[in-house]
Symmetry: C2
Subunit: 206 residues, 2 copies
């Protein structure tokens, strides 16, 4: 990256906004375990976030409690920005939760802290709400964040399921949020899981 | 991609929605001319779309006419989905406009046509509005779509400017939409252009 000294000539608010937007380009280099559908490579977190935002735009009607689509989309667009500093936390085989949570808090402080103060509050509260997973918007956003990788695992015939030898009970426990927040999407995921077991991409439990 | 026969067991609406969401995964494999900030590779269109949506969330206040952030974000998230069939249209050195426009219309018919009928209309009208670039929301979205690659060209010290030997007058003409839709962002871009000329990343005109 070349010198961004030219930003110094802008007013502070715009300088901070553009500095943030340039910094978060790095999310394009954070790799996840999930493969993209053509199986050519692993998915990065920026394109994963785009995909999830589309899931929200298309599937919002299935949320069990009514959701505010813009709030859900915003959460999904920013929910993984902390991975620039903290790295991805794989659903299967990841870092101990407490350690990773602390890293992510520090990452949120630094990264959202690049923005003007009022936007720090706006973005940080959206991220905190997502992490807490208590409001209808956050519960639905979290559900989509579980649904998408499972669908991609099915599309590629295994993916992280095969990498980590996941069994169907573990997969169901990991994705319980989907049925809780959106029953119709939970039923669809159950159909994908049953098909994956039948194809040998998820280990059966009995 | 493995058989998606399991979708056949779902009700038609959900089947179409999930089929669309799986199909658009291919946008992650469409490469643009622009490099990502760490200069390691070209940007793909899915991560570009994510980045633009963040530009909208952070910079909406600079739109000259008030904009509806959700409408702008939705436009930016879907504006390039047609590239799955039609390919990217580079700002510099691209396909003849009329030919590309026809390809994109066919792509929009097929891709948005995967959705349930009411969502076909919703997504298609959002895409048509973006393409027409007449409403305040679309003018601002188009401006961001010009601003982001120029900032990345500056960050990497040339990028597509150097690839195509672009001069500063051409760059200013190509990005006129930015100042038109958001004067403060136009001023910022002008500062980046001046700095790029001083650094030899854009050819001077005199």
């Amino acid at each position: 990256m070349r010198s961004q000294d030219w930003l110094g000539g802008l007013d502070e608010r715009l300088r901070r906004q553009l500095g943030f937007l340039i910094e978060i380009d790095r999310l394009k280099t954070v790799l996840r375990g999930t493969r993209i559908a053509d199986e050519s490579r692993r998915e990065n977190t920026a394109e994963h976030s785009w995909h999830l935002a589309l899931f929200a735009l298309v599937l919002a009607e299935h949320a069990d409690d009514a959701v505010d689509t813009l709030r859900v989309v915003r959460m999904l667009l920013i929910h993984d920005i902390v991975e620039i500093d903290a790295g991805d936390t794989p659903v299967f085989g990841g870092t101990p939760a407490a350690e990773q949570a602390e890293r992510e808090q520090r990452a949120a402080d630094r990264l959202f802290g690049l923005l003007p103060d009022d936007q720090v509050d706006e973005f940080r509260s959206s991220w905190d709400e997502f992490e807490a997973a208590e409001t209808p918007d956050a519960r639905f956003a979290k559900a989509l964040d579980r649904l998408q990788p499972s669908l991609l695992n099915h599309v590629v015939g295994g993916g992280t399921w095969t990498d980590y030898g996941v069994d169907e009970a573990t997969e169901r426990a990991t994705t319980r949020r989907v049925a809780d927040a959106a029953p119709a999407l939970g039923d669809a995921l159950e159909a994908a899981i049953a098909d994956a077991v039948a194809n040998g991409w998820l280990r059966p439990n009995s």
